[in-house]
Amino acid sequence: MTAIPYTTDVRPDTGVTNPKLGMWLFLASEVMLFGSLLSAYVLLRSGALTWPDQSAVLSVPLATVNTVILIASSVTMLRAWTALTAGNMRQYRVRMGVTLVLGAVFLAIKTFEYSDKFAHGLGPATDNFLGLYFVLTGVHVLHLAGGMLVNAFLLGPGARMWRSDPRRFTQRVEVAAIYWHFVDAVWLVLFVVLYLL
């Protein structure tokens, strides 16, 4: 069986590799998913008779901390990739490890936020704002957890590829980083829409 071309080489007339194009297409679809959920938010909020003061219900300080954490994780993810392009595997492991830890801290704070809401008797069924809050952040958290699984794979068993095919491994990390930045960007939108507006 012949190898599939342009898995690691850039096709000259299109300027991308297959995995990178595939990731961009996937993210286009993700934009439509979050876009649909956000349009549900717009339609329900604009049609609502009353809407709670969002920043009074949710904790803006915690979300601000989470925003800083997620942006920091995007930076460390990017730096993990640049470490690989410089051929420094040890540095890559450290930076990817930090990315994972930051992701875990985000999840921990989110878990605390959720349980705090439940403890005060606030759940998705309370009103449509909280319903949308739990759906939007829940779908986002699932995306974050999925990204962490991929990152953990690239830090652990997947890193063996560094010895056999370093170029391909570097590109894998790059594509994973594109996804990670997207998850980060979605959070920024959610932070503004759900906490601040």
Binding site: P5, G22, L25, S29, M32, L44, P124
Partner: protein, 560 residues
Amino acid sequence: MRFFKYLVSTDHKVIGLLYAGTSLCFLLIGFALVLVMRWQLAYPGEPVPLVGGLFGVANAPGGIVLPEFYNQLGAMHGTIMVFLGVVPLAVGAFGNYLVPLQVGAHDMAFPRLNLGSYWFYLAGGLVMLASFFVTGGAANNGWTSYAPLSDLAPGHGQTLWLVGMGLIIVSSLLGAINVITTIVQLRAPGLTWFRLPFFVWAQFITSFLLLLAFPALQAAAILQGMDRLVGTSFFLPSGLAVSGQALNVAGGGSALLWQHLFWFLAHPEVYVLILPALGIVAEVIANNTRKPLWGYRSMVYSVFVLGFLSFIVWAHHMFLTGMGTTISAFFQATTMIISIPSVIILSALMLSLYGGSIRFTTPMLFALGFLPMFGIGGLTGLPLGLATTDVPLHDTTYVVGHFHYLVAPGTLFALFAGIYYWFPLATGRMMNDLLGRVHFVGSLVCMNLIFMPMFVQGLAGVNRRLWDGGEQYAHAQSVLSLNVTMSMAAFGLAFFQLFFMVNLFMSLRGGRVVGANPWQATTLEWSTESSVRAYRDPYVYSLPGAAADFVPQDQPAEPS
């Protein structure tokens, strides 16, 4: 053991055939459901013969179909036919098998993702089938699952519908990414964009529709799942009362929100059903008229415009929701505009026939049958796209007739044409010609006898989704006898599909063995070279001065 090996193969041909086999089974199941419905419509309240005892006491005591069971049949017929039958056959099977071959690639860009796509599809299909056996049966809120009815439907059928839908959406997402990447990245040397066969263009745009439209239903399914399982009220307005009891939910939801999200998917979905069919018909017509396609470039531009416009016509399904005349006017205008590229493609296909020395092969018969049937389906859609004329026609059997003309004698005929045309590519054998012709003539007559009377009934005002076919309504009495005609024709249609099934299985073993390019076609899927290079446009037939009446795309130019 060998079968298991096929189930885990990442070869695009094997996955394409898996898709084909599975989707044909689902088409048969969906068709079987509608046969029970047609019996009930023609003879309401009479026990279904032969199979009536199989449905269980809860669904059909004494073989008599209960209204709730009829609703299950209707909802699942639509769901299975669209999402588990036609789309997987058109995109999963034909796309998987042919796109890599037609662009001269060895496989899809992501073979393992491709296999994953099939598995998600199979899982979604099995969840849908399993939902018939839970308490309360399968989803029974129509294939559109309008809220709040679907939100409040008892039992687990609707929840399983949402789960199955979610799996199918993941499957089509993976498939769409694969098809687009393959077309963009893996085109053979020399195969520039305007040397792609029209079929590849059709698959390309279709994949973008799947990629960008399906997430809306994914979001809607998540929200409805929350409504059903967690008690949110995204689709439940305030002050809703059910069976005289005020509903104990927060309220403030919007029933229209579901319709917007659903139709944002489901209108592009209509073009997902149609575009691959147009692609198949274009290939068959070019080959059997021995001419290049007339207006190939305008067809490509049209398919682009169609793809784009299909995202901004969705609310023409919602003229009667009271969303306002301004919004209606906008969607009515875009709907009229989208008919232009559709007409361009259909006209180009018809003009391609002019002056050709047509070979009336079985696939060509189906392609020729497709053209007027698709035309009827398209033209009867115009009154539905205009807000004023839609008022009396909305939710009548006229609508059912309209979209069935597009999908049944339209898309399904194209898919049959594709099966007869590419069968020798997959198996090295021809399908039987006589059986194929009987299948075509019988299906053509029966399909028209089923769907044409729906227009008559619909214009008389008979609503769709009536358990008794309109027996209790005064205004339906004059057209009630047509129900028997339509049902008889449906049973006739089932009879003529036997010719196809026998032909399919018989030809697998005993079909006439043929060479590598039995139709003397030009496109790359018929090439026997291990690595191909394209030298010319896709349909170079009857070139003056050439040695044969076809010049394959990969045949090097003769030195002059």
